[in-house]
Amino acid sequence: MNVQFKKGVLELCVLVLLDKQDRYGYELVQKISDQIEISEGSVYPLLRRLTKEEYFTTYLQESTEGPSRKYYKLTDKGREYLHELIAEWNEFTRGVNQLIKEGEKHE
């Protein structure tokens, strides 16, 4: 699929993964790449940008296996933004699905 398109969706994926629980970067990347094929390195720039825009806060937490990990936590502002994105996404996919359905009918 188109790279630009996927990168746009990435933002939504990251936000939605953080909605219910805090996660660290590696975990986020793996969760997403299990479902969609992405360039894994591009998630970190996205995380930094969204943190700067105050959608996340970060904190360090020790892990049992090794050095401490940086966790991302969704802020209220981030959650609000997530809801906006979800609404946009639903509207978008509904439209596209409708077009696909109509296209297939004519064949």
Binding site: E11, G25, Y26, E40, G41, S42, R69
Partner: protein
């Protein structure tokens, strides 16, 4: 590519960032390698799944420069941001450089016209000194009127420059997130 090479290439792509931020970014990728290794992946596998460190570095540098230009909009900061965004890809060369050159042209033209109008009484004086004996009161009155208009143009240009700078930075920001983050307002 192994971990060391990846981090070195990323670091060299981030030379223009403040050391604190650079360190922070490298730390993130280091963490990524560490956890990946714990899960039994090789350094090479992790590096190739991350993608090109140079491209990652460019994206990070561009968003840093835009942010910097937005907080202190000096000409050199704006130039840096423009270059950084252009560096993201060929697509941006056209979509950023075109409007940028056009806007700089408009602003330069406006300032030049305003400046020349304001300076016109001086020019009349110089012209009269150079060509002695061609003095006309008409020139003096017209030049004073032009000077007045010029002052308004200069004041207008001052505000126009501010507004255009602000607008262009927003455009840059939108553009950078278009290239790396998709259409956020689409």
């Amino acid at each position: 590519m192994n971990k060391k090479q990846f981090l070195q290439q990323l670091e060299s792509a981030l030379q223009k960032l403040p050391s604190e931020e650079r360190y922070d970014i490298l730390q993130d990728y280091e963490e990524y390698f560490t956890i990946g290794l714990e899960e039994g992946k090789t350094e090479e596998e992790i590096a190739s799944s991350l993608g090109s460190p140079r491209q990652i570095g460019k994206e990070l540098a561009a968003s840093h420069q835009i942010e910097r230009a937005s907080t202190t909009a000096t000409a050199s900061n704006i130039m840096r941001a423009v270059w950084a965004v252009i560096g993201l890809g060929f697509f941006n060369l056209i979509i950023v450089l075109g409007p940028f050159v056009a806007l700089v042209g408009v602003l330069a033209g406006g300032w030049a016209a305003g400046g020349a109008f304001v300076a016109s009484p001086l020019l009349v004086l110089v012209s009269n000194l150079a060509n002695w004996g061609t003095f006309q009161w008409f020139d003096v009155f017209v030049s004073i009127a032009l000077c007045g208009i010029g002052l308004f143009i200069v004041i207008g240009m001052f505000f126009a420059t501010k507004a255009i700078t602000k607008g262009f930075l927003r455009y840059l920001k939108f553009n950078a997130s278009l290239v790396k983050g998709g259409l956020r307002h689409g």
